[in-house]
Amino acid sequence: MVSEYLLRSEGISKFFPGVKALSNVSFTLKQGEIHSIMGENGAGKSTLIKVFTGVHKMDEGSIFFKEEQIDLDSPQSAQNKGISAVFQEVNLCENLSVAENIFIGREPKKNGRINWKEIKKRAEQLLLTRLNIKIDVSKVLSSYSTAIQQMIAIARAVDMSSGVLILDEPTSSLDKNEVKQLFKVMKSLKEEGMGIIFVSHFLEQVYEISDRITVLRNGQYIGDYVTNQLPRKDLVSNMIGREWDENSNHKEKQFKNLKSSELLLSGTNLARKGSINPLNIEMRKGEVLGLAGLLGSGRTELAKVIFGIDKPDQGVLYLNNEKIGSLNPKSSIERGVSFCPEDRKVEGIINDLTIRENIILGLQTKKGLLKYIPMKEQERIANKYIKLLRIKTPSIEQSIDNLSGGNQQKVILARWLATNPTLLILDEPTRGIDVGSKQEIRQLIFDLAKEGITILFISAELEETVACCDRVIVLRDRQKIGELQGEDMTESKIMDMIAKGDEIDETIPS
C-alpha cells in the first residue's frame, strides 16, 4: 500500500510576503496515473508545481519520492530525481536550435566534445516517435509557432523524466488536434508507468484525461477525488467554494427600454483604413452595447477608434451632442470615456506599482499629472474599490504582481471606475480569469449599467456577450453586418449572422 505512491507530499506550506500561497497542502501521485490539480486563479496550483520542481522552496512540509524523503532546492535537484516539468509559458531558449533545446544540459558527447550529429538524430527521432512531429530540428526555436514550441518543451520533459511529469497548462496554446496528440502521448506514458500531474483550465480536458483530481482553493487543500465519481457541478462548487448559482446570469433579463434614454454617443461613417470600414454607431445612456465577431473582425479596432488610440480617417463622432474634433486618449478620459484594454499584462497593469498606485493612475491622468492627490484621498479611493470589487489582497500597498489574474483585472477596472466614467469600454474583461471572478465581473457590469454608466462590452465568448448586453453590434471582416436586441439577441442568431455567406462557421465556439 505504502509503495504505490510515486510522489507524496504532506503539509506543504509556502509563504510570500503578505500572502499564504499554500497552507498545509497534501498531494499524492500514483504510478501510472494522470492526476489533475484544479483550482481558480490564485488557488495555489502554480505554486505547488513550482515547489515540486524546485523553483520555489517550501517553507513547511515534506515531499517523498518513491517513499524516500527528498529535498528539492533547485530545478536541477528535481530533474536529477526524475521530476520534469513543462510550464505555462514556453520555457526554452529561442536563440538555440530545436535539437539543442531538447538536449541542452545533457548533451551526448564524443571524444570529450558535444556530438551534434547525435543530438540532431535523437531529437528528430524523439519528436517523430513520441509526438508525431516532423520538423527540421537544426533550425532555431523561434522559427516555429508557439504551439510547436510547446510540443518541443513537452518532448524535452518527456525525454528527461523518469517517473514524474508535470504539465502546467500545456494545452492553452494548442489546437484540438494537437491536444489530441498530446493526450495520446500522455496515455502511452501512463501505460509505461509514469505519473503525470496535469493542470488545466479546461474542464473538458481534465475529465477526458485524468484519473484523479485534487482541488485547491485559496492555497488550501480541499480534496482529492476520483474523476468519474465527481460530477462537474461538485467540482466547480469545490473550486469556487460556494454553490454554483445555476441561474445567476439567466435571471430574467429585463430588456430596458432605452429608446427613451438620452443619446450619449453617436458616430456616423466612422472608418479607419486597415482597421474598420465605415459604420454608424449609437449608444444611449445606461446601455450595455456588445460588439460581437471573430478575432480580427474589428471589435477591438472599433473600440480603439472610439477611445482615440487610433484616429479615424473619416466620419464624425458626437458625444453628448457635442462634435468631437480631435480624438485622443487624454481628451477622451477628460470627457469621461474609459478604456479597459484587452491584454492586461501588456496594456493595463504596471507591475512595479502597488495596488493603490495602479488604481489612482487613471484619476491622476484625468486631473492632470501635476495635481497632487492627497495620500488620504488616494487611500480612501483605493479602499473603496477594493471593497466594492472584492479585490483579494492583504493591503493596498501590495505590489500588483502578487495578485492573481482575476484580481489584477479588477484593479484595472477600479482604475477606470475611479475616474467616474460616463462611457466605459471593456475589451475582453474576463479573458484568462477563473469562473468565480468572471461571474463577479459580469455582475459588476449589471450593477454599473443600473447606475447609469454606459458600457461598450467586447468578448470572444458569445454566451457572455448575450448575457451581459442590452444590444449587440455584429461585426465581420471589419464591417458592421447587423444589430440585434431584445428577444432577437441569441447566440445562434449572432452566429448565423457572422457565418452567413461564408464557410467560417466552424471557427465559432459553440
Binding site: Q76, C93, N95, I104, S142, S145, T146, E461, E463, P509
Partner: protein, 348 residues
Amino acid sequence: MKMVDIIWKGNHVFILATTVLIILLYGYGSFTFTGFFSAQVFLNLFIDNAYLIIVATGMAFVIITGGIDLSVGAFVALISMISATLLEMGFNAYLVIVLTLLIGVLFGGFQGYLISQFDLHPWIVTLAGMFLARGTSFLINTESIVITNETYSYLSSAKVPIIGGGYVSIGAIIALLLVIIAIFIAKYTKFGRNVYAVGGNVSSARLMGLPVKRTTILVYMFSGFCSALGGFVFTIYMLSGYGLHLLGMEMDAIAACVIGGILLTGGFGYLIGPMLGVLSMGVIQTIIMFQGTLSSWWTKIAVGFLLFIFIVLQRLVVINRRRKEMEFSKELNVKPETETFTRKQLDT
C-alpha cells in the same frame, strides 16, 4: 527561408560583412599606398593587436550571456604593472606569468560571484573592478617601469616565421590559439552552450535546470583570464608596466565584438567575430598611418561610423525576427478558438 536561417545567416551576414569590410579596406590601402600590400603589413595587424584580440574574445563570452565587462582595460594595465614590478624585484619570469594569470582568474571569478550571487548589474560591478584595478596600478607605482628581464625581452623580440614570408610575434600566436580554443569552447562544450542559453533567456535556462550561476561566474572568470593573458601579451609587446596603459581599451574590445557580430542583447554571435572586429579596426589604423598626414584620432572617427552602421544592421535583423514572430502569433490566433469553459458544459 525560415527565421532560423535569417538569424543564423543573420550572424553569417555580420561575419561576412566584416570580412568583406576588411578586404575592401585592405584593397583600398593596397591601391593607394605603396608597400601596403605585403604579407608583413597584414601580419602586423595580428602582432600589434594581439592583446586586443585576446581581451575581446573573453569579452565576447560575457556579452553573449547578456553581460558586460568594463574592467578589462584597467586590468591589462594592472597586469603590466604587477609583472614589471615583480620582475624588477627579481622574480622568475615564468612564475610571474603563472601568477598574473591566476590573479586574472581570481579577480574575474570574484566579479562573477558578486554578479550572480547578489544579482547585481554587471555594468556596475565591473565598473568598480575597473576603478579598483586602475587605482591599484598607481598604488604600486605612479611611474612607468621598463622591463629588462631576459625572458621577457626574448619573448618580446622572438619572431615566428610564417610560410610564404614574414613573421609573427609570440603574442600573435597566443591570440590565434586562444581564438581557436574559444571557438571550440563555444560550440563543443557544455559550458559554451550554457553561455548561449543564459544569454537567450535566463529564466528558461534556470527552469531547464542549467547551472546559471556557475555559468555566470565562469564566464567572468574566463574574461578575467583573457584580460590577464592579454595583459601578458601587451607587457611583452611594450616591455613596460604603466598605470596609464590602455585607457578606455574596454570600449575598443566592446566595439570589436559589436563589429564582429556579437549582439549586445546576448545569445547570438560567433567567436571568430571579435578577431575580425579587431582586424577591421586595425586596418583602418594602418591606412591612417600610411596616409601620414591625418591625426591618429581619425581611427576613432572611422570606428565610430563603423559602429553606427553595424548596430543599425544588427537592429534590422532583430526587427526582422520580431516581425516574423508577430506573423507566427497571428497565424496562431486565427486558429479556431479553443473550447472555453462555459456554463453549458457544466450542465452536461
